[in-house]
């Protein structure tokens, strides 16, 4: 198992993928040897290895959540997945040191040069490990830490160990357990008290190898009164076999801190994207998830905020677009644990062709709380006659002066709108695209500029040929 296996790539498939010679390859299948291999490759401390092994036991014990979730989960064959692939351990600090194949990939994704100018820090993950990372010197001077997960645990254990696995415990669900067993890569960020990071920190995730599982682990700690925005983008080439992406993202916003976490997920539609994301918000802290799901075969992702301190605020803004062969099962969780906490969920989904989008939500307010508020709005747009949408919220309220409102609606693009635009010379496709972009416009505007432009373009692409 700990031997590097023969690397078999069919060059005919997917032009956007490179034959990479991996220095480390844990092979297919998952058992304790795989974990030892990963730990050895990363030269990890004993406690991390023990943590991984405990998680593996939990993973093996927990059943698939198919009693409520999609049966498609049964198509994941855990024995056929490769859990660890890497070209080397330490990310390159300068763009020139990055291997050529990897560089080509990222250049096609458009991370280098031009964006480095705008973005405060960039980290790019290629399969299991970060391939490139860069951070502006001024931030380093302020004491901001932005490193890969392995490096974070090794170099700054006193900061990260305290919260690692605390927001999302190993046994939270089957996939968080899997991630805990084989996690690799992802970002560890620490923002010291009072530091306001003006420009967003950014990460790209890329799956290059077939039948690969990417398990990045991200932990962001914003100390008292600090502010940070983090953006991530994900892509993968199309393979014949399915690929698994199962991340765990933990955010900790201490007193008065603000964290904004932006995801634009555009995995190819053979990727199972099963992600656990959760945040802690302490007194007067604010956490905002902006989550956009366009790619993948099946996404199951419900970013959550545990509102632990008085007047904490949580927000989830979510856009999902499901095309043929896709199921976007997304939503949000708001767990109120302190007085006067407020939360807001706005979710918009678009189902095109045979696509299916699902909203699943949880709002929980126990009885000892006072003056909590939640607002939830879910709007779904159905484009074709065989598109499908579902909404499954769960709302649980007790307590003094707590109020919750939930509203959901389902609609289609009105024939009058399309007629009006076509009358003015737009093609039907362009009219449709415009209508769909209009539907999500108020949410897209909340994204940073580069991302909102990208998003509009992605929506245009997805809408191509959807009419008729």
């Amino acid at each position: 198992m700990s031997q590097t296996q023969a690397f078999d790539i069919d060059r005919e498939k997917g032009n956007f993928r490179y034959d990479v010679k991996y220095q480390y390859d844990a092979g297919t299948g998952l058992n304790e040897d795989t974990i030892d291999y990963i730990s050895k490759a990363k030269s990890e401390e004993e406690w991390i290895n023990a943590f991984r092994k405990r998680a593996l036991k939990v993973f093996n014990k927990l059943p698939m959540p198919t009693h409520w979730a999609s049966k498609d989960l049964e198509n994941i064959i855990f024995e056929k997945i490769r859990y660890y692939l890497s070209q080397g351990q330490m990310p390159s600090r300068s763009w020139d040191d990055v291997p050529d194949e990897v560089k080509q990939t990222f250049e096609r994704l458009g991370i280098p040069e031009q964006e480095r100018k705008f973005l405060a820090g960039v980290e790019a993950q290629f399969d299991s490990e970060a391939a490139y990372s860069h951070m502006q010197e001024s931030l380093e001077k302020d004491g901001v830490i932005f490193v890969g997960s392995s490096e974070g645990l090794k170099k700054y254990p006193e900061i990260f160990k305290k919260f690692f696995g605390k927001v999302i415990p190993t046994n939270d669900n089957k996939f968080s357990a899997l991630n805990s067993a084989v996690f690799s890569g992802g970002s560890f960020i620490y923002v010291p008290p009072g530091v306001k990071v003006r420009q967003p920190l950014q990460a790209y995730f890329r799956i290059n190898a077939e039948s690969f599982g990417q398990f990045e682990r991200t932990l962001i700690i914003a100390d008292e009164g600090s502010e940070v925005t983090y953006m991530e983008g994900c892509t993968a080439p199309k393979f014949e076999t399915s690929t698994l992406h199962s991340a765990v993202v933990e955010l900790v916003a201490l007193k008065g801190a603000k964290i904004q976490y932006i995801t634009v997920q555009n995995w190819s539609n053979n990727v199972f994207n099963l992600v656990t994301k959760r945040a802690w918000a302490e007194e007067e802290a604010e956490v905002k998830w902006i989550d956009c799901n366009i790619g993948s075969r099946l996404t199951m992702k419900y970013p959550g905020v545990v509102l632990k301190g008085r007047k904490a605020r949580g927000e989830v803004i979510s856009i999902a677009l499901a095309n043929d062969g896709q199921h976007q099962d997304t939503g949000a969780k708001m767990v109120h644990q302190a007085d006067e906490t407020t939360s807001n969920i706005i979710s918009k989904s678009i189902s095109v062709g045979k696509g299916r989008s699902t909203y699943r939500g949880l709002v929980h307010m126990p009885d000892h709380l006072k003056g909590c508020k939640n607002n939830t709005e879910c709007d779904a747009l159905l484009i074709n006659t065989n598109s499908r949408t579902d909404t499954y919220p769960a709302i649980n309220v007790q307590g003094n002066g707590n109020s919750v409102q939930h509203e959901a609606s389902v609609s289609k693009v009105s024939a009058e709108q399309i007629f009006y635009m076509m009358q003015r010379g737009l093609s039907e496709g362009a009219a449709m695209s415009l209508a769909v972009n209009g539907f999500v416009n108020d949410l897209v505007r909340q994204f940073p500029m580069e991302y909102s432009v990208e998003l509009k373009r992605l929506i245009d692409m997805e809408m191509e040929g959807s009419v008729g």
Binding site: L382, Y392, A394, N402, V410, K412
Partner: protein, 459 residues
């Protein structure tokens, strides 16, 4: 009760083979139905008790009652019958009336002769099995429940002989409603009222079912099943009131099968029982149907009301609209779980679902699970769920005009209910209901009010 008596009672609990055997030996059902009942008894034994892990039992309390402590009750005494008859007066002017005490029919007011001549059938179930084999064959016990209580549904089918069949033939319109009173009396009685309502093409009529307890302190278990069939163009309104005493466990498992161009109303008022589960399923199989579902629940002390609904649109151009209102006091709990399912071909569907919860004490708990599953694209569907308290501003307005806080709160709560009560469309019944609801509020201290708006601290 002595231990010995308790053991003896347990031995004859409805979940024992002895009890079922005894029931079958006393049953007068035709052989065919006996066989059928035995099938359901087997099914009951096979099915597991629901667990909270089951999606349809999410947020419900664990099953904390033992079916073994309930028995099929004996025939009621003359005093009980007399008392039940005196109290069966919620609907004054009705077309016909049945009174059941502990599953036994104790009083029947027959339909008028001209209705009988037109072919209207209103018969207790046991007689219907004998006299109307064709109707029974076509409609009776055709239904199942898809909302989680299959085990209790199977138990109901195995035992049920109380209840009635109402059949209204083509083009017959009847103004006054049919009324049925289902009383629970004996301590430990298990009730299985079965209601089968069939409206043939273009018929029009209404039904009122009232479930109540004769005694305030007798424990009981009731699993009622109501199946409504609306053929093309039928207009049916079914009102049902559940007001068992707070020692009872109640299940009400209803289905509505709705065809083309029908108008169906289902209005429920839920007041009684320690824990009451209500499942209501609507299947729209024909275009142009118009279905409205209303429910009003007043929960107090440690009551739990568990409501699960399903609106299935299998045909285009239909409307279904649901409004469930819950008012919660003390440490009571409510669960509303509703799902709208729109099939691929059901274009131009309008389906709505609204759940409003009013928390009147801080310790009450409201759970909402409103759901949508939409596979057609040309639809208008929405759901809304809100949970909140009495509005401070509105209360202030009352106080300012010299109305005491207590009276003001009651007025506001009754205002909240009125939207559902007025759907009963029968002044006498509405007044009776208001009386029942007011009684629940008589000694209550309502303390939950929306918090004071404070100067905004958020930017």
């Amino acid at each position: 009760m002595t231990t010995e008596a308790a053991v003896a009672q347990k031995a004859s609990g409805v979940d024992t083979a002895a009890s079922f055997k005894r029931h079958m030996s006393l049953s007068t059902s035709p052989e065919k139905w006996k066989k059928w009942k035995e099938g359901y008894w087997e099914k009951y034994l096979d099915l597991p008790l629901p667990r909270n892990r089951d999606e349809y039992w999410r947020f419900s309390k664990r099953i904390d009652f033992d079916l073994g402590s309930y028995q099929i009750p004996e025939a009621p005494s003359d005093e009980e019958i007399e008392e039940a008859l005196c109290k069966s007066d919620l609907v004054g002017n009705c077309s016909a009336k049945f009174v059941f005490v502990d599953n036994h029919l104790v009083y029947r007011e027959e339909i008028e002769e001209d209705l009988a001549k037109k072919g209207v059938v209103f018969l207790p179930l046991v007689e219907a099995l004998e006299e109307q084999p064709e109707l029974v064959e076509k409609y009776l016990f055709q239904e199942s429940t898809d909302l989680g209580s299959d085990k209790f549904h199977a138990l109901h089918n195995a035992y049920s002989e109380g209840g009635y069949l109402l059949y209204v033939p083509k083009n017959v319109e009847i103004e006054s409603p049919f009324a049925a009173y289902h009383w629970q009396s004996t301590n430990g009685a298990a009730l299985f009222p079965h209601v089968l309502i069939v409206g043939d093409r273009n018929s029009q009529f209404g039904v009122v079912d009232v479930h109540q307890s004769l005694r305030e302190d007798s424990e009981g278990f009731s699993c009622a099943v109501g199946n409504v069939f609306a053929e093309d163009g039928a207009k049916i309104s079914r009102k049902s009131i559940q007001n068992y005493n707070p020692q009872c466990i109640s299940f009400q498992l209803d289905t509505n099968n709705v065809d083309r161009d029908t108008t169906v109303r289902a209005i429920n008022v839920n007041l009684g029982s320690r824990r009451a589960r209500f499942e209501n399923e609507v299947r729209i199989n024909g275009a142009g149907a118009d279905v409205k579902l209303y429910s009003l629940t007043v929960a107090e002390n440690n009551q739990e009301f568990d409501q699960r609904t399903l609106q299935i649109h299998n045909a285009p151009n239909s409307v279904s609209d649901l409004l469930y209102k819950n008012a919660l006091m003390d440490t009571s709990r409510t669960i509303f779980s509703g799902l709208i399912k729109v099939a691929k071909d059901a274009q131009q569907t309008d389906a709505y679902q609204t759940n409003r919860n009013l928390l009147l004490n801080d310790t009450a708990q409201a759970n909402s699970l409103p759901g949508l599953e939409i596979e057609a694209n040309d639809v208008k569907c929405s759901h809304g769920a809100t949970t909140g308290q009495l509005d401070r501003e509105e209360l202030f307005y009352f106080l300012q005009r010299g109305i005491s806080k207590r009276v003001a709160q009651q007025l506001m709560v009754f205002g909240f209910f009125e939207e559902v009560i007025e759907q009963f469309d029968n002044d006498e019944l509405e007044e009776s209901l208001r009386g029942l609801i007011r009684a629940k509020f008589a000694k209550k201290q309502l303390d939950a009010i929306t918090p004071k708006p404070e100067p905004s601290s958020h930017d």
